[in-house]
Symmetry: C2
Subunit: 338 residues, 2 copies
Amino acid sequence: MNTESSSLLVKDIGEQGLLQILQRFCPTEIIGDDAAVIATELEQSLVVTTDVLVDKIHFSELTTSAVDVGWRAAAANLSDLAAMGASPLGITVGLGLPGDVSVSWVEQMYVGMTQCLQQYNTPIVGGDVVRSPVITIAITAFGQAYPQRIIRRNQAQVGDTIIVTGVHGASRAGLELLLHPEKGENLSPEETKALISAHQRPQPRLDVLPILWQILGSSQFAIAGMDSSDGLADALVQICRASNVGAVVERTQIPLPPAFVHWLTKEQALEYSLYGGEDFELVLCLPKEPAYKLVQILGQGAAAIGKITNGSTVVLHDQKQEFPDQVLTFSQGFQHFS
Amino acid sequence: MNTESSSLLVKDIGEQGLLQILQRFCPTEIIGDDAAVIATELEQSLVVTTDVLVDKIHFSELTTSAVDVGWRAAAANLSDLAAMGASPLGITVGLGLPGDVSVSWVEQMYVGMTQCLQQYNTPIVGGDVVRSPVITIAITAFGQAYPQRIIRRNQAQVGDTIIVTGVHGASRAGLELLLHPEKGENLSPEETKALISAHQRPQPRLDVLPILWQILGSSQFAIAGMDSSDGLADALVQICRASNVGAVVERTQIPLPPAFVHWLTKEQALEYSLYGGEDFELVLCLPKEPAYKLVQILGQGAAAIGKITNGSTVVLHDQKQEFPDQVLTFSQGFQHFS
């Protein structure tokens, strides 16, 4: 924390004062014009995604420090780019701030964003700071992708193998542990830390893309996919609906955090993994051979979890027949206005 | 107004219901993935700008209908692109909405954005809709520009002629007439309408760019400039500060709306034109010959208003010596947090 500014409030330094502080987080060559200029590579398409986060709705001081708010906001947008097969070029940040927010909160939020972005050499290329009665963070992320490599939801083919790039349910479990620490009594400190970290510092899976392109080489088939930010069940249903196909997913193949085995009932573990959300893994549909190759190279929780069928539903099947087949529907986690 | 939805509130249809309505305003081919894909032209750079607007701070139901809120939001962002010499590719719209906003307000706001954007074939390529205690509109616009044609604030050269692409003060006068209609007693209905329209439906000056490129042909000099959204005085001071130069501006050459002559005192007219803001004209610095050619072709209020000097201040000079010379400073119109 910057001690100089730790007691200052946003209203003490005004919009211009705050902009000067925040510009330290941006490359110097892009500051000071009406807009930022970014070089793009030839023959790539521009990929754009945007997210709005509002205090007390999308984040809370109870579970999320300013640094983590920034990290998660950046990670969510980079994850959307990864889900399209795009490598990031930059982000813009629009901030709405009440006057009584401390300058150091805003600085720490930028520290978090920058920490996440720097892993992928992604600059903050622009922004806006305005007064607002509620802290609001509007991020737009830009990336580039080769048109023939763009990952879309509507490209799943009957027979494709469905893979996930990592475990599911960890972020939801981490949130539970932050809200109710007493629930973690049976967990080791390492297990607790790993689950909380999954919630506070999710990693966008941009690392998957170069591996995927290498496996695919010059093959021309389309890859379907999206990220699992709204839950694994949601991603599976969205892809199948957009592609006009069905799927069978094998319950026992869904990769879970190791701690779940001794900590949660099978039902609870399944609920966290299917509906918990915010794991920011990729759910991809592609032919069997490259799919298994990708899972093998990724290791660490990546798994083939099912197959695309010519049906119209996503069926959760249990090889061990411990549980009856079940049709997956959208998560009930959608935000409703109220 | 769509009668079907005129009585519905946002909370009645939820985020998904609203998204379905708003997607009608977007090109169908870009809906349904984690991000939008946009083709760019070879050899052009990406130009990005972002703005956040908050209810009761940046717009008010007193003076601005939903359609006008949308138009002005789109116009402000397109103006930032024009000020960089960039042609628009698309915008993203992040919306924060309280549950008790009517669906038709949101639709009408999109109608306004779309009306403004369609003049320049610019699509809404993505967005996000979330709950918020206050209506918040976060727009990011992106365009493309040839690197050697990018207009920057820091490129003004001693000896450059300073031009403006249109009259200044009209938007501020229009706002005054909306807030205090009785002040317009001495204006004709046409004059009143023109001033109010300047406030409610400002035009980004993207039309200036092709004319400018044609005049410049293959010449290689850099053009300095920005838009006058924060006021003409602000633009002049910003350009001079960024370019490390001074300027002399001729008071009598600043183009004013025709109605000002018989309606306002000279002092009031000057204040509106220098500090009123939101005229969204371009303020450009370039060599004398192309500068005068541009003014001539643009007509309609465009004017050469001064010269870049090797000083460090912007001096407002009066040819007629009616007023003493005056050093311009930043507008006092900056938003302060309180």
